[in-house]
């Protein structure tokens, strides 16, 4: 399995059950899918269906209750296999913005000054130059989210795992960062797993789109997105786009109703 | 006399700033130790009790202090320690160095005319029952036919609290030596009710003990120490001379006036001890379950040091 060269990563029958005092919570159940190298995958699903859990499993931060994950490449020296943009940002309160971003290079670049120098351009791209030496608690939520993105970008990890990375940003900043993300993705040809609640964003960004069911989440449908790249905002006006959006919308509606009822 | 070795011998000796260590202070000040090619390193601890383990271990060479059950037990169990000289006993005549102090109000009320009236009284033993103080008090009670469980014993009360307790009447009787004795009496809350010599005359309450580092390795140094010590005892026997007062003032931090006022302990000029009283104390300890078995006189007492020293000193004085 490990040797199928055009597969970036493969998830096979992943299940994750949490133990709590109120009994077991089955977060995801039998999730199987693969991501090709250089592929951009988007995942959508109802709130609480196990998307974050799935991402943490891939990042190796949680152990699956059952099932397995295979990676085609062994992690390169110093470069983390995957960089996760956490939904809760996960910034270190004891580091400045600069050092938080530079942490993405901690393993690869020995020299502290060099780490910082490499981080500054990304901080600038995120529009946070004025806050380089501020601590996370002095930033707004959207600014914190951007610091987390910068940290993931700077690390040059093989797999980018992004958990609603642009959720707290205004529409314009979102666009700028989407572009940035696509540029980085094209340059380094990473594979990206991207979780979002914004169906339009998912269609706009992804090569393929996975729709998850309500908890316990599994993949209900896999949709290949046919639009050519580079894409333009104008594709949102295409009827195919609208149809696709409507289709996903209906699936999700069903699932949400299931989880609430 | 051997003054051959030019290197002075270094000895670690317990020294407490108490009156009963007077000969040590004198020997140091008058250069008697130096005369004997001894360089004394004085070590201070809170009491001589804490010095017994290092003495037995050989970390301390010489410990002078109260006759203690712990010393006797160390002698019985390991036999590495011996008493070698007197350092203070309950002198028969003269002033009272150690006494039973009673609450003044009680004595004035005539409630304490004889030991049989001790029944039901509250007795304070500042150093604790498992010491010579317990021994004194039990002898005293025996004299009045009072049993131990018929009185209320309080242990480990600091002097300040004792004074306060005398004032409030929460203590009736206490045992104490100088300078506590004089301070109690001066406070007007206590009176000297019975000198200890009336209970246990000639009791050997203070001794000098040698540890294995001298007994097994350097008896010569031990001999020279006793020479210097007994020489100092002779000067001590001159009494409250200006010189002696000056030395004591320096070491005890007590005022000259106060030093003049209080009783100084008796120390035999030849350093001999009352081994019988030690045996009696030992018997009492065994009876109280504080000691498992007795030591013989040979086990705890080594007279050879004072014998040699007395010879040397008498030859010098001639």
């Amino acid at each position: 399995m490990n040797s199928v060269s055009n597969l970036g990563l493969t998830c096979q029958g992943l299940c994750k059950t949490y133990q709590t005092k109120n009994g077991l919570i089955s977060a995801i159940k039998d999730v199987s899918f693969c991501v090709k190298e250089h592929e951009f995958i988007c995942i959508v699903g109802p709130s609480g269906c196990g998307k974050t859990t799935l991402l943490k499993l891939i990042a190796g931060l949680l152990h699956p209750t059952s099932g397995q994950i295979f990676f085609s490449q062994d992690p390169q020296d110093g470069i983390p296999r995957s960089a996760l943009v956490f939904q809760e940002h996960g910034l270190f309160p004891w580091m400045t913005v600069l050092d938080n971003v530079a942490f993405g290079l901690e393993m690869r670049v020995k020299d502290k000054k060099e780490r910082r120098d490499l981080s500054r351009p990304l901080i600038e791209k995120m529009g946070l130059l004025a806050f380089t030496n501020n601590y996370p608690h002095e930033l707004s939520m959207g600014m914190r989210q951007r610091v987390g993105i910068a940290r993931a970008f700077v690390s040059k990890a093989q797999i980018l795992l992004m958990d609603e990375p642009l959720g707290s940003l205004d529409a314009q900043t979102k666009l700028i960062l989407q572009e940035e993300l696509l540029k980085i993705w094209k340059e380094d040809q990473k594979c990206v797993v991207y979780i979002t609640h914004d169906i339009e964003e998912a269609i706009f960004l992804g090569d393929r789109l996975l729709v998850m069911t309500a908890r316990p989440g599994h993949i209900r449908e896999e949709i290949v997105i046919p639009f050519d790249r580079p894409r333009d905002l104008s594709i949102k006006e295409l009827t195919e786009f609208a149809k696709m959006k409507g289709h996903i919308w209906r699936i999700l509606e069903e699932e949400v109703r299931k989880s609430c009822g | 006399r051997e003054k051959t070795s030019s290197e002075p011998v270094r000895l670690k000796v317990l020294l407490l700033p108490f009156l009963s260590y007077a000969p040590f202070f004198i020997a140091q000040e008058e250069g008697f130790f130096a005369e004997q090619q001894l360089q004394i390193e004085f070590v201070q601890m809170s009491s001589s009790a804490a010095a017994i383990p290092p003495l037995a271990q050989g970390d301390l060479d010489i410990v002078a202090g109260t006759l203690r059950i712990s010393t006797l037990n160390a002698i019985i169990r390991e036999g590495k320690i011996k008493f070698v000289s007197d350092k203070g006993h309950i002198g028969a005549g003269g002033c009272t160095y150690y006494g039973i102090i009673a609450r003044q109000a009680l004595v004035e009320a005539g409630d304490l005319k004889n030991p049989s009236q001790l029944k039901g009284k509250k007795i304070c033993l500042a150093s604790g029952f498992a010491t010579s103080e317990g021994y004194f008090v039990e002898k005293l009670l025996n004299r009045g036919g009072v049993k131990l469980n018929e009185v209320e014993i309080q242990e480990h009360i600091p002097f300040t609290a004792e004074l306060e307790a005398f004032k409030k009447g929460t203590i009736d009787l206490t045992v104490g030596g100088e300078p506590k004795l004089t301070r109690m009496v001066e406070s007007k809350h206590g009176v000297l009710w019975m000198p200890v010599q009336e209970i246990v005359p000639d009791f050997q309450f203070d001794v000098i003990a040698y540890g294995p580092s001298i007994l097994q390795k350097n008896r010569e140094a031990g001999r020279r120490f006793i020479v210097a010590y007994l020489k100092a005892v002779r000067q001590y026997h001159q009494g409250k001379s200006g010189r002696n007062l000056g030395i004591l003032r320096k070491y005890t931090n007590l005022d000259t006036e106060f030093l003049k006022k209080i009783c100084w302990p008796s120390i035999r000029i030849d350093g001999s001890i009352n081994a019988k009283s030690v045996l009696d104390f030992q018997d009492w300890s065994i009876k109280k379950g504080l000691l498992d078995r007795p030591a013989t006189e040979n086990q705890f007492w080594d007279p050879s040091f004072i014998e040699d020293a007395n010879k040397i000193l008498s030859s010098v004085s001639k």
């Binding site: 133990q19 | 010393t71 306060e164």
Partner: protein
Amino acid sequence: MDDLTGKKQRFLGLMREGWFTVFIILLIAIAWEWGVSVGWVSFLFFPPPSVIISTFIKLIANHKLTDNTGITLWRVFLGLILGGIPGLILGLILGWSHRLYRLVNPLIAATHPIPKIAILPLIMIIFGIGESSKVVVIALTAFFPLLINTAAGVQQINPIHFEVAKNYGANLTKIFTRVIFPGSLPLILTGLRLSLNLALLVSIAVELVSAQKGLGAMIWLAWQTLRTEELYVSLVMTALLGVFFNFFLQRIAIHLVPWKTEQRI
């Protein structure tokens, strides 16, 4: 960071690893016993474990050990109540109010390092020669760690929780009972652990210099008569009490801080 949760697992976990302590202790005991028998270790000061154990049994049988332990525990309990509760309350208040903290802190800093044993004679003048003086010393000792850790615990509460409470119009009582107390509970328990151990320690130290009963008095007598085996029995008892206290606090923590899976004080 394992995923184990559930009270039962955590409880079992606590027990399972106890063998390590037992193992270490056994190892030391065997080496010790052997050292004494060969004569490398002084019998007088380090009596072999076999002697200590038989003395332990003897002192249990004649109730000396149990009685004295009971007395010490009672003093620890009283001291902890009298010192710990004010420490806890003051800690909550000082953690909450910066102004008060700044006002009172120098006083705390000045009184904390004063050795209570050194002023025991003064305390006895004020509180008498009886039990109360000892309890006062223990209470004064237990007071500080709980105070300082509680204040630190309150200070590490995320400010947003205060904002939420304020936003929903919580009055002072509610802020204390709903935010400050539960939010600092993990550190309060750490402070309690320090206070409890220190209270036991000081209890014994006070008994050592001023009591006729209790573990400390036993230790004093052991030194006074140089029956070192009795000293070790008292020390073993103290260690057992420490282990018991700790176990007890762990159990409390599991119940009181259910929202922290990893809470082990």
